[in-house]
């Protein structure tokens, strides 16, 4: 525990809370009519997971140094304590005893708490975004991209729902979902581009975060099916009935609440990224080693999720969704809304990334990408920066996955395959690694090409095209499309100005307000 007095007090309070809880448990254990306390294997699993999350929360708390960080960490710990209390009240304390809570009560409590947390997070997020935009200076190009995305978010649904099918600009239904899928891929590409282009971390396993977000929303959608499944079981999804399971595994609880599911979409990839990154960056694993380890991570998850007894649908995954938030998932209006949501999410994500890299934070990122050792010598805790960006990037990928699944209608463990993650990397490479717009463009172009190839007679040639793309782009187009365009643009401007080199509009045109000067005094 560290830093400010507020942090210390907060930490102390939480510790006291935990101790009280433990004491209560012990006391209850010694009361004569507490004999109904039974802790079975499922409870032990739950408590085990809870303990791990508690440790992570404490680790977050100990690494947060600023006041804001301490508050966030404190909130995290408070949530974990709340979860512990729910476990205590629901599973450990037997029915009939005081403080026991029926499961419906617990579900309701979780629903409202998660809704509150989500609202808080949304407000905090918007405030943070505002703060970012105030501190950083985004060029007009940034706002242009956002404007285009918002335009698309409105135009496509309008052109789909409110124009007749014969209208030349009509967007057919299948195209709405298809383009929506492209947008979610673009968001994934953005998350990969953020850590690769600005941190120098080549993650070959980001598909794992994408898939985890997808599974989280998939679990919500499965719970929404209710009794309309093949086996007509109101509580258990079909695949569980098929496996003769009696009740929901503990980690499926509360997923019928949308706020909880949404939080999990960001929290699960985020926590995994935090744990993984904390270990990896602390021991200064870099470069190729790190890439291989990320690939191993997603491969391990692939193996795990393929198992039928892991509780996530096995090799069939989760599918046959019926509705989302009460709306039929297949209806054109729902699809259009999902499309719009994807576009808006992409816009927000882009804005956030753009603001991040335009601020001093972004400068530090570029510095540690190119000269990590030197950056350390300047006093910057490189691990913290990498970890922060890695976690944010993972959460973005999770959101992308969560938007992907309702539009595609299925999530299966194949999404964890290393091939998917590496394909995301090529989208970024094609578009332009050092930029933020590049990944978006690259993802769209490559996936469009993929659709064209794989739905036609040229299907067997797609792997050649994809493989060829990898080779050609790395050899001849290392800056990607956008990067190369930028380079040519800069060269042309230099030639026009004739004399000293101008401010090279680096990355996303973060520039200083100082205008370029005339001839230098010292000769080159």
């Amino acid at each position: 525990m560290s830093g400010t007095i507020v942090g210390r007090v907060l930490g102390l309070c939480i510790l006291v809370l935990i101790l009280i809880g433990a004491a209560a448990l012990v006391l209850y254990g010694t009361l004569p009519d507490a004999s109904g306390v039974v802790i079975d294997a499922a409870d032990m699993q739950m408590i085990g997971v809870w303990a791990v999350v508690l440790v992570v929360a404490l680790a977050v708390q100990s690494s947060a140094k600023t006041l804001a960080g301490q508050i966030v960490a404190g909130l995290f710990i408070a949530l974990v304590v709340f979860a512990g209390a729910m476990i205590l009240a629901g599973r450990v304390i037997p029915p009939g005893q005081p403080f026991h809570l029926d499961f419906e009560r617990i579900e309701a409590a979780v629903f409202w708490v998660s809704a509150a947390v989500l609202a808080l997070a949304a407000i905090a997020g918007l405030a943070a975004l505002g703060g970012l935009l105030w501190g950083a200076r985004i060029g007009w190009t940034g706002y242009l991209v956002v404007a285009i995305l918002l335009l698309v978010a409105v135009a496509v649904p309008v052109l789909n729902l409110w124009t007749a099918p014969t209208h030349p600009l009509h967007v057919p239904n299948y195209a709405v979902s298809l383009f929506g899928k492209y947008l979610t891929y673009a968001l994934l590409a953005l998350s990969v581009g953020l850590i690769w282009g600005y941190c120098g971390i080549l993650s070959l396993g980001h598909g794992a975060f994408f898939a985890l977000g997808g599974y989280a929303i998939g679990m919500y959608l499965m719970r929404q099916i209710g009794a309309r499944g093949v086996y007509a079981n109101p509580d258990l999804p079909d695949f569980m009935v098929f496996l003769n399971w009696r009740e929901l595994p503990f980690f499926w609880h509360f997923f019928d609440g949308f706020p909880y599911a949404t939080l999990m979409v960001m929290a699960v990839p985020g926590v995994l990224a935090f744990v993984f990154g904390w270990f990896a960056f602390r021991s200064r694993v870099t470069g190729v080693y790190l890439s291989i380890i990320t690939q191993a991570l997603t491969y391990a998850l692939l193996l795990a999720f393929f198992r039928n007894d892991f509780g996530f649908g096995g090799n069939n995954g989760l599918t046959d969704f019926k509705d989302i938030l009460g709306f039929n998932i297949q209806a054109p209006t729902t699809r259009a809304t999902l499309f719009a949501a994807s576009a808006i999410a992409l816009a927000i994500g882009y804005l956030m990334c753009r603001a991040m890299v335009s601020s001093k934070f972004g400068k530090v990122l570029v510095a540690l990408r190119d000269a990590e050792s030197r950056t350390r010598f300047l006093g910057y805790r490189v691990e913290r920066y990498k970890l922060a960006v890695f976690v944010i990037s993972a959460a973005m990928a999770g959101v992308a996955g969560a938007l992907y699944v309702p539009q595609v209608g299925i999530i299966n463990p194949g999404e964890f395959a290393p091939e998917n993650s590496i394909e995301a990397v090529i989208w970024v490479a094609v578009g332009g690694r050092g930029t933020l717009v590049g990944p978006i463009i690259g993802a769209t172009i490559v996936n469009y090409a993929k659709t064209v190839f794989t739905t036609g007679a040229l299907a067997p040639y797609w792997p050649f095209v994809l493989g060829g793309l990898f080779v050609v782009v790395t050899l001849f187009l290392p800056k990607g499309i956008v990067g190369t365009v930028q380079m040519i643009w800069n060269r042309m401007r230099e030639r026009r100005a004739a004399a000293p080199p101008r401010e090279e509009r680096n990355a996303d045109g973060h520039g200083t307000a100082v205008p370029p000067q005339a001839n230098p005094q010292l000769a080159e």
């Binding site: 140094k65 600023t66 601020s359 934070f361 000269a371 805790r381």
Partner: protein
């Protein structure tokens, strides 16, 4: 002993460092007083750069004591923490951030919170802008603030790095071969700059250029094979037969 310790900025005692059998530092003992500028000279492989590595936390000594300001044990800290203490280093090879502009290099080095939160949400205030401009003026790069650092000449990069060092507002500066690759004119100007800096800060300069060292006019320590061979004014060490034999020649 404690008295002596507390009056020092940098205190090295019996420091040993070996790389796979090669003794880089051999029972090195060195004391730097507050506010002084010290020149450290010696042949190649004498351990000058390794000594700086130890002080800045890049290399952990096998044995020996390294104290900053009399109380802080540097052997227990890593690079970033040591940098935050106020120990700044300018490297042998100029290591400015090539992908950043000159101004951004200074901005990154500028004294201030290094926390991600601070860099994310912070905004450059007026005081900071003034300080940045001042520094740019000192290192004669105020006209090239928006140039990418990769486009600077070698000498300019050296000065930029000195500027970055100053921006950190360090208490102790470790300057490794500041005159390397410079013209005579530039070298003379660098000496002037360093003497100016030394008025308010403690500076250790490692150099080969004897004219430059003479220009500095400060106490000199000669290192040889990882330990101190001779110490004193430049004239004193130049006359020392051991030093002549090993380094300066007749």
């Amino acid at each position: 002993m404690d008295d002596k310790l507390s009056q020092t900025v940098l205190y090295l005692d019996g420091v040993n460092v070996s790389f796979d059998g090669f003794r880089a530092l051999n029972n090195l003992s060195l004391v730097i007083e507050p506010g002084e500028m010290r020149a450290i000279i010696g042949p190649n492989g004498a351990g000058k750069t390794t000594m700086m590595d130890v002080v800045t936390g890049k290399t952990k000594p096998d044995s020996g004591a390294v104290f900053f300001d009399g109380t802080v044990d540097l052997t227990k800290m890593d690079e970033a923490s040591i940098a935050s203490l106020g120990i700044g280093r300018k490297f042998q090879k100029p290591t400015v951030f090539e992908s950043h502009s000159v101004r951004d290099n200074i901005v990154l080095a500028l004294e201030g919170s290094r926390e991600p939160g601070a860099t994310l949400f912070g905004r450059e205030g007026a005081a900071q802008t003034t300080r940045i401009d001042e520094l740019l003026r000192i290192i004669r790069l105020d006209g090239k603030a928006s140039w990418p650092a990769s486009k600077l000449s070698h000498g300019q990069k050296q000065w930029l790095e000195i500027g970055m060092l100053l921006a950190q507002e360090p208490k102790l500066l470790l300057v490794d071969e500041p005159a390397a690759g410079m013209t005579d004119a530039e070298t003379a100007e660098t000496a002037v700059l360093l003497k100016e800096i030394a008025r308010t800060k403690t500076v250790i300069v490692v150099e080969h250029d004897m004219a430059f060292v003479r220009d500095l006019g400060v106490k000199v320590t000669v290192l040889h094979e990882g330990s101190v061979l001779s110490e004193g004014s430049l004239d004193h060490v130049s006359a020392d037969p051991k030093v002549i034999e090993v380094y300066l020649g007749r």
